[in-house]
Structure formats: structure tokens, C-alpha cells
Amino acid sequence: MNGARNANAGVGRAASQIHRVLTEAWRLQPLYVSLYAILLSFVVGGVLISIIGVNPFTAYWALLRGMVGGGDEIAGSVARSVPFIGSALALAFAFRAGLFNIGAEGQLLAGGITAAYVGALSWMSDLPGFVAIPLILIAGTMGGAIWGGIPGVLRTKTGAHEVISTIMLNSLVLFGVRWMVNSRDPVVLRDTESTVPRTDPISDTAVLPELVDSQPVLHVGLFALVGICFVVAFVLKRTTFGFEVGTVGLNPHASHYAGINVNRVIVASMAASGAFAGLAAASEISGTNGFFQPGTFFLMGFDGIAIALLARTNPVAIIAAALLWGSMLSGAPLMQQEADVSIDVVRIIQAMVLLFVAADAIVRYLFRVRELDQSPFKATSIEGAV
């Protein structure tokens, strides 16, 4: 017991040193827990890797080079991260309104299929790009918004909890699009000329311009999603609508008393959340795939939950968290090739990050991060949003 305490004190001292650098030099107070969670996960992951008989430093070095080892790697990592920004925003925005939207997975599919359908309409090829591209993005955004808005409406009209209804809607759209894309009789949205199940290719005019021909392709959708993060940050922090969202999220009773239309805010927040996922899906369809395949967005919505929580639902921090998430996935194959460590190890590390972020008491204890230091109250004024 005592020995363990001493060892722990040693780790603790090192940890508080790190803590000091982060607080005093970098001013990252609100994100401590997340940073430490990442650190801790990599340490535990390293232990795992050495248990399977590989030098963790070799493995991590390969992973790092896979992530940012060269221009192509960096571009590939960024490209991989872009849609995560949207799926994370989908959770984060609803979260501010006190809603737990775990339906990004379905909202991505709804947005993706709508974008693919609109993009492949025959008259799209007659339109100039500066019309066709916004059109396909708006279509996807709308698809996501509707699919996100439904649980909001159900919540206000029937009291159905959004966690349950988003799960149901996830299944509904998942099987729905699978059928639409697979079915040959009747043909719904399947491209009959293709051997694999997918929709018709979208018109060339609706393809987002490419930035780097990396793997996957890095396209202009990056700017759209990064831009949206700043817009959302501004909306939450500076607008009356953002104030309403935050107020409803923190105290719906007081919101009602103060004259805020709580139901309207709930529906609007859910729809906006879905819209972010829909936009991410549309930009992928338009910029990367060129058609819709069921399975394209597999797990992307659920990863979004982890990313949003890692970023503490801060829209700007989401950009960084999504980049980390996407590049880890993008770098993992090189680690598998060179160090013979399965890609799944990266998935395990990511799962641990989420675990440590959610169970932040562990991190606070290890790194001596006191929540109750001076003021026992967390400032969650909307001014504290960014």
C-alpha cells in the first residue's frame, strides 16, 4: 500500500510538472483533462504494445510517420479528419442545448444519400459548378437537418427521449439506405451498371475541387467544415440564439420562466446538429467518393461523440481533436506494416481516450487536477464557451 503510494507520488510529481507547463505556459486550463487523457492512453497503449513483444517506441514512431511523416501523409491525415469535424459538431451543438444527440451516424447517412441523389440528378450536369456544388452541399445539409430534427420534434411533442429516438432513427436510415442502394428489383437508387452496390455517380459539375491528390483526397470541404466550427463558436458565444441554446441546456425551467420558447430551441438545436453531420456527409460524397455506398460512414457518427467529448464540446477545439482522431486512423496502417502492430491498437487507444475523458476522476486524481481548487463552481457562462 505504502509502496504503491510512493510510486504514485513519483508519477504525481512528474505529472504536476507537466500540469504546470500546460497551465502557466500554454493556458489550456479547460482542456487539461483531455490532454492528460490522451497522454495516459498512449502510455497504457505502449504497455499493451510491449506486452505483445514490440518496442512501443518503434511502433509509435511508425505511427507518427504515418500521421505526419511527409506532405502526402499530412494531407491524407487531414482529409481523413474532415468529416469527423461535422459529426463531432453534431453532438457538441445539441449538447449545449442539454440534448444528447447520438444520432450523427444516421444523420450522416441521411445527408449522404440526399446529396448523392441530388448530385446524380440529370439536370445537375447542365449547371455551372458554382451552382451545382452549393446545391449538393445544401441538399446533404437539409437531409441531415431533417433526420436530426425529427427526434427534436418527437421530444417536444411526445416527450420521447432523444437518446432512444436517435438510436431508432439510426437503424431506420441504416437499413433504409442499404435497401435503396442494394435493391435491383425494384431499382431505387442503385447504379445498375456497377457490380458493387452504390448509387449513380454524381455529376462532374457537383464535384468539390481537390486540394491535394492524397489518399484519401483532400478537398475544399475542409474549408467548409473548419469554417462552420468558427461560425458555431460565434453563434454560441455571441448571438441571442446561442444564449437561448445555452440557457435551455443549463436550466430549462428558468428558460421557460424567462420567456424562451424551449421547444423551439430544442427542435432547432437538433436540426442544426443534424445539419452539421449532413454537411460532412455531403462534402465527402462530393469531394471524395462521387457516389454513395452504405458503409462509407460506418462508425463516423460514433467517433464524433468521442471527438466532441474530447474537445469538451468546444467547437474550435473540435478541429484539433478531429485532426488527431483522423490522423491516428490514417497513420495506423504504417504502424501495422513496419512494426507489425495491428491497426486495432489505435482503436483501443482511442477507446481509452474516451474512457478517460468520460471518467475524468481518474485523470484528475493521477495528475492532481483539482476541480474544487478555489471555486467549487464551474463557470459555464456562454462567455466561457471558447
Binding site: 455571441r238 448571438t239 441571442t240 440564439f241 446561442g242 444564449f243 440557457t247 443549463l250 436550466n251 425551467h253 428558468a254 421557460h256 420562466y257 424567462a258 420567456g259 424562451i260 420558447n261 478555489q374 471555486s375 467549487p376 463552481f377 464551474k378 463557470a379 459555464t380 457562462s381 456562454i382 462567455e383
Partner: protein
């Protein structure tokens, strides 16, 4: 009560030279206090004087910056409240800490579970609770769900909970602020039986009458410092009030004769159901005219909450109608009613009145953040919001380091001042106030009463709901007694007596006729 019976008083708790600072405020500045065995020690002070902070340190919730705490002569350093409980200290907080969906027994054993193998031993817990209840006259039903209990009952649960953990030093932070007069009497009965059996009590209250009735000794704090100690014998309400506030306090509100104008607020046969669907307002008729204060007296639970919420649009009506300024406003939204010029000070401060995590400034614009002054094209004008907040904070004497402080860091009384400041400003036609001075110190009560009268004199129609008969009597021009959801009688304040009102409140009729 237990005057140093025979031998020398034995101190069970000694606080010596305690200092505690929060960002921007020194909440306690070199405070010392001694609590003797079997004594009731009252802690008095204005809102924000540092009373809760002091007792929170004794209970291990905050750590002092300086100074020592001794329990039964032994110096202690509490890491958390668990350490304090282990030393026999129990606390009933200003805001209760019970879990509404649990039963009384479950709440009481929470954190101190009696187990039999892997299972909760609720039976033996129940027996212990019953025996405690009997010993101290604390009637609680172990199987009732806490959410269904009245405030007074919840308070008894909190007390039993502390006693269940063998506390013999009890800290009671404003226990009577939310009790009805009857419950207060019961409560003092309990307190006496506790000290009679050797428990020692620190008792915080703003009600000077209570202090004089129960205290053995009194310590007065002002701005974090001890400004005086007294015994109940030597003190009067006036002397205590002056000591607390540091100036002469006027208890009696001076007001001119009312000059009522046209009717502003009218209800006809109003019926409203509570959360369980039971109709608690059962045909309520009232007419409040411009420039008068209509006070509604009554034992709590006779429909006050539902009545106020229905008038202000927060709760759907079940029948009848509400009219304001000549328009029918039945079931209008709170926003629409508010924009007519109707303000509402809600009864439940933390549930409706504030967003605890917001700053003072954001709370001050909670219902008008969207006005052109504070928002242009949907974008908030932070400068204007802060300027307004700064002005209101000064005008209403909210004690805070700044308008960007999170409201939850304010003392309870100062939070109420923020709400009052928000509601009492603007172009008002009518004002609905429920329990406006609950938990406020005498100085602040005086101030808020003056503000309400000022509004009346400017022609605002005021509907005042209060459980404090004194407040009703000193503010109102006309008084109605709410009994089982309807007005049992209306009297002119000038002719009203406590006795007559008390009878109406208790029986719904003023005697004479059966």
C-alpha cells in the same frame, strides 16, 4: 435554554482566527467563535457576510487559508466533509441535498449504508430512524418518497440524516427560511429537545425574532469580520439589526395612502392544476388595481405556486380567465405576458430565478437579452449588457466582486437581489412577486420593500404572495387570504389584525358564522 448549568461551559468547537478569501472577496477575516456543549449559538450577518463560508469550513467543505479549528479541544484539519462527519459534525445546508426520487430511509442511509451481506439492510435502518424520530420528536415516514414531502418534512429528513451519523455538533444554515410559521414552532421544539440531550448547535438565520427566542449566544458578522457577540438577554431586534448592518434599520415601512387607479390584473373563476393534476386553484377571483399592493396571505400549499405560475403564463389554466390591462391573457406565453409590462419574481429562486452557471450580467438580462438594447441583428451587445448589469448591481447593492462573477458564487441573499433587480426595473404595469424577501437580511428586506412601494406609487399594480404575515401586513393595501385554492376573505390592510388573518388562514372563515 441551557444556561451554563452549574459547572463551567465546556467548548466543543473552537474556531480561532479563521481567514478565507475567494477571488475578489475576503469572505472570512480573522473570525473566531466558540460553541459550548448544549448551547445554541446564533450566527447573524447580512447577506454575503460570510456565514455559510464559515460553517462550510467547519464542515470540511472549504479549507481555511489561515486559522485553526478545534473539536473538543483537539485541532483538526478536514480534507472533506467525511472527516467532519467522523468527528461528529452534522450540517443541514441552506439548499437541501436530498435525492427526490429516493425514499426517506434511502436518503438517510445514503453514503452510510447499513448492509447485510451484499444487500442494503433497510429494515434495521428503518428501526434506527424510527427510534431517532421518537427520541427527538422528528416525525418522518421512512418509506415516503422525498420528492412528495413538504419543505418542512424534508428538513426533518436532513436533521435525521445528520443524527443518523451520530452528529453531536449540528450546523443549521438558515433552516427556517423556507418553513411556515407552524413548522417553525415544531422546529424549535425539536431544537430544544436536541440541546436538552447534549447536542450543540450553530444556527444561522436572518429572523431576529427567532434569534432572541432560542439563542444562548449570538455572534454577528459583517463583511467577513466578527463585529460583536451578545447574549439573547442583552439584545433587542433593533440592536442586533443595527450591529449587522452598521446603521439604523427601519423595521416599519413608511408608506403613503394608496391611490388606486384602473384595474390592471383580474382573474375570474381561475382554476389551475398542480404537477400531479390535482386542482389546487379552485375558482380564484381577484382584481388588482394600478397603484395598489394586493397581498395574498395563506398557509403554503393552498395553491399559491400554481396561482402565480398560471397568471404569469408558466402553467396552463384548467378553467376561468386572466385579464391584464384590459386584454384577456389566459394561457399566453410567459414572454408575451412579460412584454405587456408584467414582471414576476418567482418563488423558487434556483429553479426558475437564475441560471446558476451564468454570470451575474447574463442573469440580469435573462428575460430581455433579445431587446434591441442588448442585441443587434441577433448579435449580443456584451458592452451594453455589462453596463446595464453594472448599473443594476450598484443600484440594488448586490455584493459581488464584479458582474462577470458566476452567480452561484454569490451568497443566497445576493442572488435574490439579482433577481429582484432584474424584475423591478423596466417599464412595468404589473408586478407579481412571490416570497420576495425569503432568505434576505433585514437591511435588504427594508430596501426591497421600499422598492416595491416605490413601484406602487408610480402606478404599478402589485400582487404580493408571501408566507410572512409581517411582510403581508406591512406592505399590502388590501389583503386576501388564500384557502384551498380560493379567496377566503378580503380585508383592508388598515383594519386587518394578525389574529383575524391567522384564523382565516387556518380555517378559511373569520369565525362568527360557522
Amino acid at each position: 435554554m441551557a444556561q451554563a448549568s452549574g459547572g463551567a461551559a465546556r467548548p466543543v468547537l473552537e474556531v480561532e482566527g479563521i481567514t478565507k478569501a475567494f477571488p475578489g472577496v475576503v469572505a472570512n477575516d480573522d473570525v473566531s467563535l466558540t460553541l459550548n456543549q448544549g448551547e445554541i449559538h446564533c450566527l447573524l450577518g447580512e447577506n454575503g457576510a460570510g456565514k455559510s463560508t464559515l460553517v462550510n469550513m467547519v464542515f470540511g467543505l472549504y479549507r481555511p487559508d489561515q486559522g485553526t479549528i478545534k473539536v473538543r479541544g483537539e485541532e483538526v484539519h478536514f480534507e472533506d466533509s467525511g472527516d467532519a462527519i467522523a468527528r461528529g459534525i452534522g450540517m443541514v445546508h441552506q439548499h437541501f441535498q436530498l435525492i427526490p426520487v429516493f425514499t426517506v430511509a434511502e436518503n438517510i442511509i445514503l453514503g452510510n449504508e447499513v448492509t447485510k451481506g451484499a444487500f442494503l439492510d433497510l429494515d434495521s435502518a428503518r428501526r434506527q430512524i424510527d427510534s431517532l424520530a421518537e427520541r427527538y420528536g422528528l416525525a418522518v415516514d421512512p418509506d415516503a418518497t422525498v420528492g412528495d414531502l413538504s419543505v418542512g418534512e424534508q428538513q426533518r429528513v436532513e436533521l435525521v440524516k445528520a443524527l443518523f451519523r451520530d452528529a453531536d455538533i449540528l450546523i443549521l444554515d438558515e433552516p427556517t427560511a423556507v418553513l411556515t410559521p407552524g413548522e417553525v414552532d415544531d422546529f424549535f421544539g425539536v431544537v430544544e429537545s436536541l440541546t436538552g440531550q447534549g447536542k450543540s448547535i450553530i444556527f444561522i438565520t436572518h429572523k431576529l425574532r427567532e434569534v432572541l427566542a432560542v439563542a444562548d449566544r449570538i455572534t454577528v458578522l459583517r463583511a467577513g469580520q466578527v463585529v460583536g457577540t451578545a447574549t439573547a438577554e442583552g439584545a433587542t431586534q433593533q440592536s442586533l439589526a443595527n450591529l449587522m448592518v452598521g446603521r439604523d434599520v427601519v423595521f416599519r415601512v413608511d408608506k403613503a395612502e394608496a391611490d388606486p387607479g384602473a384595474p390592471v390584473l383580474r382573474t375570474q373563476d381561475l382554476r389551475v392544476a398542480d404537477d400531479r393534476g390535482v386542482e389546487t386553484v379552485t375558482g380564484f377571483d381577484v382584481e388588482v388595481r394600478a397603484g395598489e399592493i394586493f397581498g395574498i396571505a395563506g398557509v403554503e400549499g393552498n395553491g399559491q405556486r400554481e396561482l402565480v405560475e398560471a397568471i404569469c403564463g408558466m402553467r396552463p389554466t384548467a378553467g376561468g380567465r386572466v385579464e391584464m390591462l384590459g386584454q384577456e391573457t389566459t394561457d399566453w406565453s410567459p414572454r408575451k405576458i412579460n412584454e405587456l409590462g408584467v414582471a414576476h419574481v418567482p418563488e423558487n429562486r434556483s429553479k426558475h430565478g437564475v441560471v446558476a452557471q451564468y454570470t451575474i450580467a447574463d442573469n440580469l438580462v435573462l428575460n430581455r437579452y433579445h431587446h434591441r438594447k442588448f442585441s443587434q441583428r441577433g448579435v449580443r451587445n456584451t458592452a451594453a449588457i455589462n453596463a446595464e448589469a453594472q448599473e443594476l448591481v450598484e443600484q440594488f447593492d448586490v455584493r459581488t466582486p464584479g458582474v462577470d462573477a458566476v452567480i452561484d458564487t454569490l451568497s443566497g441573499g445576493n442572488q435574490q437581489k439579482v433577481i429582484v433587480a432584474r424584475e423591478l426595473t423596466g417599464d412595468l404595469k404589473a408586478l407579481v412577486v412571490a416570497q420576495p424577501t425569503r432568505g434576505l437580511d433585514v437591511g435588504s428586506i427594508e430596501f426591497i420593500h421600499r422598492k416595491i412601494i416605490e413601484l406602487r406609487d408610480r402606478g404599478v399594480a402589485v400582487l404580493l404572495v408571501s408566507a410572512e404575515l409581517d411582510e403581508i401586513l406591512s406592505l399590502s393595501d388590501r389583503i386576501g387570504v388564500l384557502y384551498r385554492g380560493r379567496l377566503a376573505g378580503t380585508v383592508n390592510a388598515a383594519d386587518a389584525t394578525r389574529e383575524e388573518l391567522g384564523l382565516l388562514m387556518a380555517t378559511g372563515s373569520s369565525g362568527g358564522q360557522r
